[in-house]
């Protein structure tokens, strides 16, 4: 029983880290209706830039700020050269454009910073600690805390400020928002910048967890089912979905693995997403207006 609980909780904690990646999608999707496949390579780009700056002796916060500035510059460029020319095009066209973007991000980050694996030490211990009799990873607990505070900050920013109001207005009805004088481009840039910020945080945590290298861009594949289960529009939803996916995946790998085979976690999340989709086509907390038949 104790082992079961440990598996459950450890899975749930790593699920929060999937959610951290998925939040970046939600921010962009809500503001510009774009399903941004490049979020994963933005994480790679952010983490590689940060770690290389730090290795060259730049202090932590300066490196953090500089990386963030780069991501904001990228947000401007993306809005200007990709999203604006593609406005009014179908969601699938926009999605495909972000696939192209992810290629560009991957190429750029590896040209600029090379392909080596970098260690990243955030000063968080990764020794196991005992919580209520369960042996858990202190790193995962810290990462969960960071993700949790990020969610609170984002919820405040998008909920209580004028900025948040305009983000939501654009999400609710772009044409109406335009007609009352909201500048769509600005809102888009802000949303992509926020997503860049989330990518940086996610990149640091994932980088500290598994080393900063190319595979960071593949985390996006773990975030997709989380997003589908949680709904594309709800930050709270993806957190819950992340926990579900993380815990379910871990349990499946431990308890289903021996009977049906190793490596179940490669597809389990997608199977789960499919089941949820059949039951609730708009995701757990997604808006109900999404097209269904």
């Amino acid at each position: 029983m104790q082992f079961f609980l440990e598996v459950l909780v450890a899975g749930a904690l790593s699920g929060v880290m999937y959610a951290l990646v998925a939040i970046g999608f939600v921010l962009i999707y809500r503001a510009s209706g774009v399903f941004n496949f490049a979020q994963g390579s933005m994480i790679l780009f952010a983490a590689l830039t940060f770690v290389n700056l730090v290795e060259r002796g730049v202090p932590f916060w300066l490196a953090f700020g500089a990386t963030l500035l780069l991501l904001i510059a990228a947000a401007f460029a993306i809005e200007r050269f990709v999203l604006r020319p593609l406005s009014n095009r179908s969601v699938i066209t926009l999605f495909l454009a972000t696939l192209g973007l992810s290629y560009i991000f991957e190429g750029l980050s590896q040209i600029a910073w090379g392909t080596q694996v970098h260690a990243l030490d955030l000063g968080i211990s990764d020794d196991p600690v005992s919580v209520a009799g369960l042996s858990l990873s202190s790193f995962d607990i810290a990462a969960t805390a960071i993700a949790g505070s990020l969610v609170v900050i984002l919820a405040l920013v998008t909920g209580k400020t004028n900025l948040g109001l305009s983000l939501r207005a654009v999400a609710a009805d772009p044409l109406a928002a335009l007609s009352i004088g909201l500048r769509l481009e600005r809102v888009t840039v802000i949303a992509w910048s926020l997503a860049g910020f989330v990518a940086l945080v996610a990149g640091l945590i994932w980088g500290a967890r598994s080393g900063v290298q190319f595979s960071l861009s593949l985390i996006v594949l773990k975030a997709l089912p989380v997003l589908i289960i949680g709904g594309f529009t709800s930050i709270g939803g993806v957190i819950v979905a992340g926990v579900l996916v993380g815990a379910g995946e871990n349990l499946a790998a431990i308890y289903l693995g021996p009977t049906i085979g190793n490596g179940v976690e490669g597809w389990f999340a997608y199977g789960l997403a499919l089941v949820f989709l059949m039951a609730r086509p708009t995701g757990l907390f997604g808006q109900r207006t999404w097209a269904r038949i």
Partner: protein, 357 residues
């Protein structure tokens, strides 16, 4: 999201008779020209993969370009086709390779219907969950159970020698001829299918599904049929990939990157176009080769290969965005423009005289 655009925007489909002359001419040309100038490299590493990717693009285009259902799992159906063919050829007595390839296509079609079932309930973006589930589940299944790979410890299967009616085709030119034959037959079949009521039902589902339903088109049946036909073509493409191109295959070879590659074939070539698949496939295969040759020629051998490879990635990404922005109807439209340069724009009503080479 208050209002959503139509699920997908596509080129106005090619006028039905446009290819009536072009297609046979192209097939004849493809059957003659390469043998006059061909080298092993041209056959083995350029033409055969272009043909196979064209067929795969054709399969995805049926589903995405014509029936409007987005799929990110094309490679999974290729894998099913390849491994079904392998096992049928291996285990069922009396099946030579060609019937086994066709049978493999039918197995892939069955799986296509299975993974297409969610399309009856969800559509648009959420449907990618189903095809992605296929994408991750199928290679796992194939590598997990030794039976599929006939007990090969590492999950890699080896193709049987390629023969047809007693002829030994186990050389680059032979492989090309074999591939060309299959691809040509299937292309003609698909073209006629698109031109039939079935094809028109698909396009109706794509362009306005509610109206299509109101017109009495059975939506569910049309979608599942599109999944079946698409997967059948992808399955055969997968078999050819394994047996006439690589000569060997592992489940991991049919990964998400392959699915993206096929998606790029149809984006760059043109959604809802038959000719576009061939243009797109040629582009996808030749661009990396061309870039590395040009890059090497400009900078010489001192060029860092990693730099070259990453530059290639950037160029690829930028081109995809460029095409989506500037020419969403793809290379096929560009080619159309090029062919029309001297005549004025007449529109699509008299395509026959315009499309002649």
């Amino acid at each position: 999201m208050a209002s959503l655009p139509a699920p997908i925007s596509v080129a106005p489909s090619e006028p039905p008779r446009a290819g009536a002359i072009v297609l046979p001419v192209a097939i004849v040309a493809a059957a003659i020209v390469p043998f006059a100038i061909g080298s092993d490299y041209l056959f083995g590493a350029v033409l055969v993969p272009i043909l196979i990717l064209s067929l795969a693009g054709l399969g995805l285009n049926v589903l995405t370009g014509y029936a409007g259902q987005l799929s990110l799992g094309s490679a999974a159906f290729m894998a099913i086709g390849a491994f079904a063919t392998y096992n049928i050829h291996l285990r069922v007595p009396g099946f030579s390779l060609l019937p086994a390839i066709v049978a493999g296509g039918f197995v892939a079609a069955a799986f296509g219907v299975l993974f297409g079932l969610p399309s009856l309930r969800v559509k648009g973006f959420y449907l990618i969950a189903s095809t992605l589930a296929a994408q991750f589940f199928v290679p796992w299944l194939l590598s997990q159970y030794g039976w599929f790979t006939n007990g090969s410890a590492s999950g890699v299967i080896t193709a049987p020698p390629l023969t047809l009616a007693g002829f030994d085709l186990d050389n680059p030119a032979g492989r090309y001829a074999y591939t060309l034959g299959i691809v040509a037959v299937l292309t003609v079949l698909v073209r006629n299918l698109i031109d039939s009521p079935t094809g028109r039902a698909w396009m109706a589902v794509r362009d306005m599904d509610l109206a299509a339903a109101a017109l009495g088109i059975p939506l569910g049946r049309a979608k599942l049929l599109a999944f079946a036909v698409s997967s059948f073509l992808l399955g055969i493409a997968g078999s050819l990939w394994a047996f006439t191109y690589l000569g060997t295959v592992e489940p991991a070879g049919f990964d998400l990157d392959r699915s993206f590659q096929i998606l790029f074939v149809i984006i760059l070539g043109g959604l809802g176009s038959i000719r576009g698949n061939f243009l797109g496939a040629a582009f996808v295969v030749l661009l990396p080769v061309a870039l590395s040759v040009i890059g090497g020629a400009i900078v010489g051998s001192t060029l860092d290969p990693a730099l070259l490879e990453n530059a290639q990635k950037i160029v690829f990404g930028a081109l995809i965005i460029f095409f989506l922005v500037a020419e969403p109807d793809g290379l096929t439209k560009l080619l159309g423009h090029a062919l029309r340069t001297r005549s004025s724009w007449i529109g699509l009503t008299k395509p026959r005289q315009l499309e002649q080479p």
